[in-house]
Symmetry: C2
DNA sequence: TCAAAAACATACTCATTAGTCTGTTTTCAG
DNA sequence: CTGAAAACAGACTAATGAGTATGTTTTTGA
């Protein structure tokens, strides 16, 4: 789904993600990104046709990161909750590892339709949504399986999955890697968030005990 | 904490919140907001000194909305979890009721420092954070109390409260009132999100049974 | 009833910034 | 080696949008 990225292109994406994160996707200018690279606009516009395309590329890569990380640990032979726990752990780890990219996604999450949306840009945005939806589907399907199993509380699926993803993505809002990112704290975040996420899903009432 | 707002000023805030929501806080121009009001810039700049001040006013009002709603139902004589459940219910209801305002908050949550930040604007933003922190504190304190009680799982407080707030705010990301906001669906959202939030906090291991 | 202040409208200025165009350097296949 | 294409740099254009300055209307208090 994602074409190969040259080393230079990847460097540009990293810089773009960083600037979008610190300044906001809309406020960050192409010149800001170029300056952060020690280059000029010429370099960026040689690789990307527009700012919108660059933004979409960053968002697409973000979804791709978590997608790969989660898909790698999926094992549908396990019970849904067990599987979801591994998936969640992997997702949170990846978010913490590639934080700037995921910050950008959150910034453009709501239905904020871009003003000057050409046909091409619109298509790119639709592609981004598709990638995000695909990733949510990984969790969506497992939650549905868990509800069928009886191990997960029977709630509105949309509401439940949205809440789950928000828990897993919550570090995006407050995690500051620049201020001391001790491996210990990272482990705490992964453990506690995964624990909270699983607890929020787990069925309370009958609790089928297979022991 | 919040000065009285004239009818006209309130109308401007509503329009601003709406435009910030649909177009994004950065992309929405003062002219856009004025046009949505059927007026011109003059009206807005008569009441607000700058776009940043207008944005801050919207954010401050958002925090004020949920603050009032939650504070009204706090009853610290109850057990922490019971109290938190009522608070959460009230919070979610308020978010759904004044959605545009809360969308704006989420858009500017991350550490995106504005570029042209004058001293005044900076002070306003700091005021906004203070209001948001105050509201989070309401939940923070109750969670701490619950942990002390033993009814809430002993996790990192920052992580736990952040996760909790994200669950409660999650409709901001996907709820579309324009597309059929049946009272029934609203009730479902409030019930399921509150249920998930409480489940994510509840202590799993010893479970002190006071019955 | 009548100033004066509040509440707007309208026409500007000026800075920022996305995108373009042309030139220069680097890479690399043959 | 060489020439052509890729990978940039740097100057320029054009449009958008925040903020201002000066009107005009409406409200209001005495």
């Amino acid at each position: 789904m994602l074409e190969k990225i040259s080393a230079s292109k990847s460097e540009i994406l990293d810089a773009a993600a960083h600037c979008f994160m610190t300044l906001g996707a809309e406020a960050a200018s192409i010149d800001d990104i170029a300056h952060h690279l020690g280059s000029t606009k010429g370099r960026i516009y040689h690789h990307f046709p527009s700012k919108g395309a660059l933004l979409s590329a960053v968002q697409l890569r973000a979804a791709d990161f978590t997608n790969r990380a989660v898909e790698a640990v999926i094992d549908s032979s396990r019970p849904a909750l067990e599987n979801l726990e591994e998936m969640s752990r992997s997702h949170v780890r990846e978010v913490l590892a590639s934080l700037p990219y995921h910050r950008v996604i959150l910034q453009t999450y709501p239905g904020t339709r871009v003003k000057a949306a050409t046909e091409v840009e619109h298509a790119l945005q639709s592609e981004v949504r598709k990638g995000q939806r695909a990733h949510e589907m990984l969790f969506h399907d497992e939650v549905a399986r868990g509800i069928a199993e009886g191990s997960i509380e029977n709630r509105n699926l949309t509401v439940a999955v949205a809440g789950l993803m928000l828990i897993l993505n919550s570090p995006v809002f407050w995690f500051r890697p620049e201020r001391g990112a001790s491996q210990d704290f990272i482990d705490t975040i992964v453990r506690d968030l995964t624990s909270m996420a699983m607890a929020s899903l787990r069925s309370t009432a009958p609790a089928p005990q297979p022991e």
